[in-house]
């Protein structure tokens, strides 16, 4: 951060809450959450490589109540970051900058992430429970 005193722009609480502001903040938040989740991928692979007993232990931890709640959170974070990430890529390509489109695509990211999470967990629960 610069040491010089410069004029500051008004901070977040000045603005009315809008969906496109929330999608942007949540995109960062889910990104950070997923970065922590990447450690779970590493753990899974290490336990799979280490042997049967080790892998069962890993599955037990992930399949425990707390593990399942975390997995549900990470599933939604992944799908949200995926949907909104595609939205950002399209915006980077120059599409969807009109304000109504921008707002609508924000809601599409939210809806898409919920639909995909429901689909994935619907499969988890109907295929005979988790882990």
């Amino acid at each position: 951060m610069a040491d010089t005193q410069r004029p500051l722009s008004p901070h977040l609480q000045i603005y009315k809450r809008q969906v496109q502001m929330m999608t942007s903040i949540v995109h960062r938040a889910t990104g950070v959450a997923l970065a922590f989740g990447s450690l779970l991928v590493v753990a899974g692979l290490i336990h799979l490589a280490a042997g049967d007993e080790s892998y069962s232990h890993f599955k037990g931890v992930v399949g425990s109540p707390i593990g399942m709640i975390l997995m549900l959170g990470w599933t939604w974070a992944l799908f949200y970051h995926l949907c909104n990430g595609i939205r950002h890529l399209l915006q980077d390509a120059g599409f969807g900058y009109e304000i109504p489109t921008f707002v609508r695509s924000s809601w599409m990211s939210v809806a898409g992430s919920i639909v995909l999470t429901v689909l994935a967990w619907g499969y988890v629960l109907t295929s005979g429970g988790a882990a």
Partner: protein, 134 residues
């Protein structure tokens, strides 16, 4: 562009541009790499989710045999490397935006890179162990 044109466009001394507020020329590559890894992760991420769901009720031997398949091992390694690369770029922006104490910022940025390299290499090693040991 000739040196003369450059002078007309920007009257600042080139050292002044390089120092402090000037462009360091690496921002574009950061931005672009973040997007390219993002596109890769759209495809690899979906593949990863489907693969994990398919292994939900698999026993140990099946899970191991699935990861050991050449294509799966290759895609898994690609996924893990792309994921950590993308995560480092994203976390870097978050840290640079919100951590305003210089030494904490630097420590965090370096720690994130170290952890990401460790995580990526540990994953690759694990996949190779699974794929190469009969």
């Amino acid at each position: 562009m000739s040196a003369k044109d450059a002078v007309v466009k920007d009257r600042r001394n080139s050292l002044k541009v390089a120092r402090g507020l000037g462009s360091s020329q690496s921002g574009v590559s950061h931005w672009l790499t973040q997007r390219v890894t993002a596109v890769g992760l759209v495809l690899l991420g979906l593949w990863f989710v489907v693969t994990v769901l398919s292994l939900l009720h698999a026993d140990y031997a099946t899970a191991r045999a699935t990861v050991a398949k050449p294509w799966n091992a290759l895609l898994l390694i690609t996924f893990v490397l792309t994921m950590f690369w993308h995560a480092v770029l994203g976390l870097q922006v978050v840290v640079e935006d919100y951590v305003h104490t210089r030494w904490k910022e630097v420590v965090l940025l370096v720690a994130i890179k170290f952890l990401a390299v460790l995580g990526a290499l540990a994953s690759v090693l694990a996949v190779l162990r699974i794929a190469l040991t009969p």
